[in-house]
Subunit: 302 residues, 2 copies
């Protein structure tokens, strides 16, 4: 299960009635925050998400509306007594930006580790959770993120018996551990069927459409994608600023055959996104407008 | 006249229902912001203050709750099309901090000039407005600020006549200008009486009580002073963290014979400041609780 919550859905600047885009994922004991603009720590509180458990912060890029809330959030987590390390991922240059911003957040009570984008390696949080950053197309280096909660194969007692796995190891192997008993190694595949499709969420903001988003979003359970503008009239503005129309996000969702699309990162000029949702729905039916506080628990398919 | 608005009144971290301490002064065509924590740009909007006209930002110190909103605010002013320069004042080191934070606010549409604290010189905005920073006592270098709107002497036609000032220069001299006509210099004092008492506002947060605050606040029209804690039980906590009780702020107000005291910069633990106001009023009657959006126009006394 992944609980996904949009803390904010705005782009460019925080508004009186719309927080800057950010998203929280809770799964398997991990709390993953995507982006942290000005006010995100308040938006999280309003959306019912605690800050202290956040162990991973995925930054898309270094524009203020996506990162300026970082020092404040880290200080609040410090004030709340966090001691466990926090990993921050982002484009190349991340360490330098985090160091600069943290000039005003010295003496944190926990270590911060920066992981800059490495196209060869996903960020592996546990044997069940994998985060894959991928470059998108904005005015500066910017990353999309693919989050996968893996799902092991079904537990098959007949396979365990056929492989002569001692009964007392069944549960551990089922949970993905490898065991050694009396000099013999037992691996999870000795008790499990073929791996099943996991749960995938893809997050892409501050980008024009690119094939790479479509590829990473392929058959995702949820695509959270920017829709800076609704009406097609705004296409020149979208192109110029490195953003997307609702219809462009919907076209990616459709081509990638995702289950659902949540739009986010609205322009301050887009006051009522719902009124323009039809621009997305006409292309991809399962399009929804994200809003501050939108939250759902996604489960593995039956 | 000075219009003074408290955009926020909280300390440490922004809350769901209280913005971080900051204050806006409008006077004589100048818009002066004191401190800019996370969310201050939103707090300003909610308080009805526009960001674009801000020409001076006075930073008390470099803790995140007082400066982390700076890059976002500057970007918003940029998005709003400001072109006139902005002066930022603060403790020594300001330039380095502003440069670091502005890594995420590149390409501003206006120049930013940093003025680090210089104990010899006030910041002079015009011949009518003078800002005097002064050190206070916190865990790090921190400044209080005294704002003075000067008031020239009364215009005295009989004095102008006695000094043989040509009639056509009267208005200009009355407005503080010096004029030269037919090789002769005419100065404002040739048409004006003795300078009258101006309008003074003193702002001091993140400090223990010090004589220096009292001295600068002497007979001020308004002292805006931190009251991190209400109850006297919190004195050890106040001392440890470099903050004040309501009663300590009130004692300064009383000793300095200010006209009014506004409390601000409340601890997140202080949920209902009004309930503890008596701790201040028992010492200084004209004590008031600041609150987000509290705004008044102060005039020269009759």
């Amino acid at each position: 299960m992944i609980k996904v919550t949009l803390a904010g859905t705005g782009g460019t600047m925080p508004l009186k009635n719309r927080w800057l885009s950010s998203c929280m994922l809770f799964t398997e004991g991990h709390a993953i925050l995507i982006d942290c603009g000005e006010g995100t720590q308040i938006a999280l509180k309003l959306a019912g998400c605690k800050s202290k458990p956040i162990d991973t912060i995925c930054i898309t890029h270094f524009h203020a509306d996506h990162i300026s809330g970082l020092p404040g959030l880290l200080l609040t987590m410090s004030n709340e007594g966090r001691v466990d390390p926090v990993t921050i991922t982002g484009p190349v240059g991340l360490t330098r930006y985090v160091r600069a911003l943290c000039m005003i957040a010295p003496n944190l009570t926990f270590p911060v580790q920066c992981v800059e984008y490495d196209k060869e390696h996903p960020v592996v949080l546990s044997h069940k959770i994998e985060i894959t950053p991928f470059p998108v197309r904005h005015s500066v280096a910017c990353l999309g993120y693919r989050f996968e909660l893996k799902r092991s194969g079904k537990f098959l007692p007949e396979k365990a018996r056929a492989n002569q796995v001692p009964l007392k190891l069944w549960s551990s192997l089922q949970n993905g551990n490898t065991e050694i008993l009396d000099g013999k190694q037992y691996t999870p595949d000795m008790v499990l069927g073929e791996p099943r499709k996991g749960l995938t969420i893809v997050y892409a903001t501050d980008t024009r459409p690119t094939d790479r988003i479509t590829r990473h979003a392929e058959e995702a359970d949820l695509l959270i994608c920017e829709g800076m503008f609704g009406s097609p009239e705004k296409l020149p503005r979208a192109k110029e600023s490195g953003h997307m129309l609702f219809s462009e996000a919907a076209a990616i969702a459709s081509e990638a055959r995702v289950k659902r699309l949540w739009l986010t990162h609205y322009s301050p000029s887009l006051e009522f996104p719902e009124e323009e949702l039809s621009f997305a729905r006409s292309i991809f039916t399962a399009s929804e407008c994200g809003f501050d506080g939108k939250s759902e628990e996604l489960d593995f398919p039956e």
